[in-house]
Amino acid sequence: MSTHRRDTVLRVDLTAGTVERERVPERWRRQFLGGKGLGARYLYEDLAAGTDPLGPDNLLAMVWGPLTGYLPGESRLAVVTKSPLTGGFLDSYVGGTVPDALAGALPDCLGVLVTGRATDPTTLVVADGDAHLEPADCWGATTDETDAAYDGAVACIGPAGEHRVRYATVATDGGDHHAGRGGAGAVLGAKRLKAVVARGDPPKVPEDLAGLRDTAEREYRESSTGRWHAASGTLESVEFADAVGALATRGWRESRFEGSEAVGVAAARAAATDRERPDRDTPGDFRVETDAGESVPRGAAAMSLGAGLGIDDFDAVAALGATCDRLGIDVIDAGSAVAWAVRASETGALDRSLSFGDAEAARVLVRAIAHRDGDLADTLADGLDAAAERYGGREVVPSVKAMALPAYDPRDAPAMALAYATSDRGACHRRARPIETEAFDGGTWSDADRVDRVDRAQTARSALWSLVVDDFVGETVDDLGASWLQALGDDHDVASLSRLGERVWTLTRLFNVREGFDRRDDRLPPALTVAAAGGDDALDPEAFEALLSTYYAARGWGPRGRPTRRTLARLDLAGVVDAVTPLDDRAVGVDRPADD
């Protein structure tokens, strides 16, 4: 079939003010595809251990995949960098119009790699197969204002990114979508890159893939998940988590929220002016008007800003979400920072008068964090662990690798706790989310069952996010994309793609190990060893250590959580690992070290 081969990247050096094109090594393209995998490969290759995430030497890669624009659902973009929040690997994904516009504007490219630091605020404009740098006149603007300042699809930072808040996002479409969590927005802020503007038409779906795409979208539309998604968007997850007693509420004090319905899908439906994608079979979340502007409240906002802060007023939660969206700050981490401040004020660690349920106080504090306005906000802008370090109170709101836990409470769900603990970018519910079944039948699971559910999901998503698939409609890509790639003339099959997923997951582990991470960073947060109010579920640290060892054994990693040479050889990573990345001699459960 005839299609444009994507086998180059654009390198943008903001210090030198240059844009250069380079070919992606064929071996890298085959072994890592695009998205997460290719981004991780460049990050591991280009960065030295200990690189300052907010310094000019850090790399921020915006990477799409060989099938971007062709796959069912929404096209997505991987943003890969070293996180200023965790100090480790960060990948984050964002949709909207930008991924298709980038892939359309750069038809032979797989990504844009940004290094250096501009002298003055700068914009990268991508159009007609090339890119150039322009002065950015909108430094200080919110994400919606920045979007309105340009003609084209815009990925940008808001004030939080400019102030290097370590959980600032990269926003698209005026703040409707975000590459969130570990602070990719702060990395762009430190580089003084305000926006990436893409002017390209979406890639035309090749004839050979049109049938596959139609079938996948129909299957999703008719599937249970697709029907749920069409009915509720993601917002009902707050009611699900409440119903199964896994909803972190009021700073993790409780695990059920009496206001979950009030901030849930029925309230959104009543308030909605539109759906996110009204013309699609699965139309996305609900669009509402708030006094902080238009907003698309999602499950994470209802959970972390509603239940997490004890706010049971839908309009107030939506407005708080809209505030975060415009400032370009992650809703989970912002909500967790406020929750931490309230609990620390209750325990006396913080000399402030704060309380749960006070939406206006939460908005004031979030705005202050985004601008690093005042000592408390400045510290909270560096994350929960930094705040605990300065003021005390580490145990109250849990984190892994300095990233706040999302609001799925795993105290009665050890597999979910394992997913948080072993997630490569810090506590994350998207690499594996076993709680969706564990909440119902986890009581019958063995440790092997728990590990199986976590490592399978991590591996599969590593492959799918290298393509990069839509998180929801992508579920229909049940062969990890093999048939899609074959239609483009590639010879990947399910087995090779599964191995690719494991390779990518192991490479991100190598990156973190090189930065000094080991078993101690896969710890169980102390807050999870204490039962929530009114409950009796808490995790047992000894049992969790045994579970973690079972996980390492399944991955072929050693007792310190480091891959072994034998595992690297099995995954074709022996030639990738450098001399300064420490490895374990033998995997957990293996008696003798490998001969190699």
């Binding site: 998940t225 749920w228 509720s232 993601t234 699900f240 969706e436």
Partner: protein, 93 residues
């Protein structure tokens, strides 16, 4: 006796509301309840039980927060004041 029922996502759409209470005779089981719901609501017909009368795969039914498959399945007995929650497969976010 009265049983409180909670529906999620597509089931909520089929029923038209999230929470309802229904009165039943004593001795009601989960199987009886699900069959009665399929009869009452057109949108639930064939959605809860399979051809053999078992709970459909991927469907989760909780009695007072506990998965009924780990109690007595469709034979699980219900008492006055019990809450039954009915979930399709979860789509999280």
């Amino acid at each position: 006796m009265d049983v409180d029922l909670r529906f999620f996502a597509t089931f909520r759409e089929a029923v038209g509301q999230k929470n309802i209470t229904r009165a039943f005779d004593d001795g009601l089981t989960i199987g009886d309840l699900l069959a009665a719901l399929e009869s009452e609501f057109d949108g639930l017909e064939g959605e809860l039980l399979d051809d053999t009368g078992d709970i459909r795969p991927q469907l989760s039914v909780l009695k007072n927060g506990r998965e009924v498959l780990h109690i007595d399945g469709t034979a699980t007995e219900l008492d006055d004041g019990d809450t039954v929650s009915v979930f399709p497969p979860v789509a999280g976010g």
